[in-house]
Amino acid sequence: MAKEILLEIKDLRVNFYTYRGVVKALNGVNLKIYEGEFFGLVGETGCGKSVTASAVLNLVQNPGKIEEGEIFFKEKNLLKMNKEEIREKIRGKEITMIMQYPIAALNPVMNNGDQIAEALIANKNMNESEARKRTIKLLREVNIPEPEKIARQFPHQLSGGMAQRVMIAMMLSTEPSLLIADEPTTALDVSIQAQVLSLLKDLISKHKATVLLITHDLSVVAETCSRVGVMYAGDMVEVGTVDQIINNPQHPYTKGLIKAIPSDQSKELVEIRGSVPDLVNPPSGCRFHPRCDYAKPICKKEKPQVLQVEKDHMTACFLYEERHDKRSKEEYKGGANGRADSA
């Protein structure tokens, strides 16, 4: 991928200062998103996907705090910008965000058309009649039947899928270069999910935008994304293309996730043993080691480095570090067959 890097997150740490103690939500996350791609971020609930997204918009809410790290967007460090600057130049103009529950994300007392027009007036300096015309056009673009009628209706009169389309229209209205979609299809049923995802895909290629799709649903990722990042307990454990992640997972956690997808072949439902760690007292070293079948003494002591296992495919696991050192040691079953040499 010789494309340009649109968003680069370097060693991002976010803590939440709660009554129970400091929740170490992000533990040095690294991420690169290239222009024009559809990047999926997967992981369990509470692993830091949404925190990463809000950190990009500098919207980490109290009691959360970005401790360290850098977020480069178009080669500008967003964390060095002041609040006004990021609000005026980035949010809404360069980066927008689609929320999980579309009906809750629309203002209940403003009709749908006004909400989109409002975004246009505020961000694009349009006058009212221009904004209204554009709104109808946008609604038509997201496949809403009778856009004039829907524009006059209020969010509670819409179904979930419709509301999500209105939301998409609103967030694309300002022609952002990066669209963050935070579990956009979680609240929708499966057939509507597929519709919304394919719509999103179409629109993105049409508007030449980049998408950061946050989800816990691997099938959604498999369907739509070009590259995937897997997060676990505040760490980015594996990054690769969809094909690499789905067909050739390297990190034990990703392997567990893939195995846990119900299939026709296996009658048993495979799970990853244990449960998500408490991030007030995260496990030492690799945060996954208490649940890992391949854990070694070193996993308890040190945080694994990110290693390249093949082209475009990185993972943070000591299994590969060792393999990298000693070359093709097949002691750990199920791994890649000697692929680690390209780093």
Binding site: E88, R91, A104
Partner: protein
């Protein structure tokens, strides 16, 4: 030709008005239906309407001038010429009550015109920004709320000097904390909702979020509270006038009329009684209407809009 076309366009525009605003119209119809279904609200509405008509058309309705004295006709009992009798200076009590409606409504409207915007402004700021802004505004509000409202209004009224204008200022100063608290509470809950987060993600400024997203939602609560408070305002204003802190003679103020008339309660009962009834009716009417509006604006009572 051109003008014909314009005329036709205009006619179409008029004709399609109903269609374009169908949801608003059906909503309005439902509101009317709900009011008509509730007899107490109707009574309240009727009282307030009569009061308003009295206030606006007082010079045309009132049979006599409210301030001209007729010392030859002092303390006349109710008769055909003076339906509610005359007071100690020979002034027609009915006329004074009719003019008094205007004074009472003026107090209510001016106090609310000061307090609603003030309360909204301070409450929104406190709730939205939090921190030290919140502390300063709400602790000030707490100080005002620590005193009984009538006592505080009296103290401020005394300090400013007795007059109708100062009464309004005094009442306004004692009432704003209620609205500020209400607006703050609403703001606190609304600002945590997802659509505010969505607005932030769109880069909307704090000002726009406050004015276009939070204000429209909390305004209905505040309006209900304001209608419920209208009776209170009349009551406090009458109380202050009764104590000599409010309207000064010869203003036809109900509280003042009760105050000067109380010396005649035993032998000429009509002098203080009728203005007292006027206060009672007005407060009662405002309370009934306020309750009615609260019930009607309750979304659980309304059917879904289609």
């Amino acid at each position: 030709m051109v003008s014909n076309l314009a005329k036709e366009n205009f006619q179409n525009w008029i004709a399609s008005w109903g269609k374009r605003h169908s949801s608003e119209i059906s909503d309005f119809k439902e509101t009317v239906y709900l009011i008509r279904k509730s007899p107490l609200t109707m009574v309240g509405l009727a009282v307030i309407l009569i009061l308003t008509i009295m206030a606006i058309f007082a010079p045309y309705i009132a049979p006599y001038d409210p301030v001209t004295m007729h010392l030859d006709n002092r303390l006349a009992s109710p008769s055909r010429a003076h339906l509610l009798g005359t007071d100690e200076l020979g002034r027609d009590i009915l006329s004074r009550i009719i003019y008094g409606a205007g004074v009472a409504l003026k107090i209510v409207l001016i106090v609310l015109a000061i307090d609603l915007p003030l309360g909204i402004l301070l409450g929104l700021a406190a709730g939205y920004f939090g921190g030290w802004i919140d502390e300063i505004i709400m602790r000030t509000a707490d100080i005002f709320m620590a005193f009984p409202r009538l006592i505080l209004a009296m103290a401020i009224g005394t300090a400013l000097g007795p007059s109708l204008r100062n009464t309004m200022i005094a009442i306004a100063l004692t009432m704003w904390p209620v609205y500020a608290r209400l607006a703050r509470g609403e703001t606190l809950s609304i600002k945590e909702r997802t659509f505010i987060e969505a607005e932030r993600a769109l880069g909307t400024s704090n000002f726009r979020i406050l004015v276009f997203n939070i204000l429209p939602i909390c305004i209905s609560t505040l309006i209900v509270r304001a209608t419920l408070d209208m009776g209170n305002i009349i009551r406090i204003a009458a109380g202050m006038s009764f104590l000599g802190l409010g309207a000064q003679p010869p203003t036809p103020d109900w509280g003042l009329m009760v105050s000067t008339g109380r010396n005649f309660l035993v032998n000429q009962w009509w002098v203080p009684t009728f203005p007292g009834f006027a206060i009672l009716l007005a407060v009662f009417g405002f309370n009934l209407l306020g309750d009615g509006i609260r019930d009607i604006s309750d979304p659980h009572l309304r059917r879904g809009r289609q």
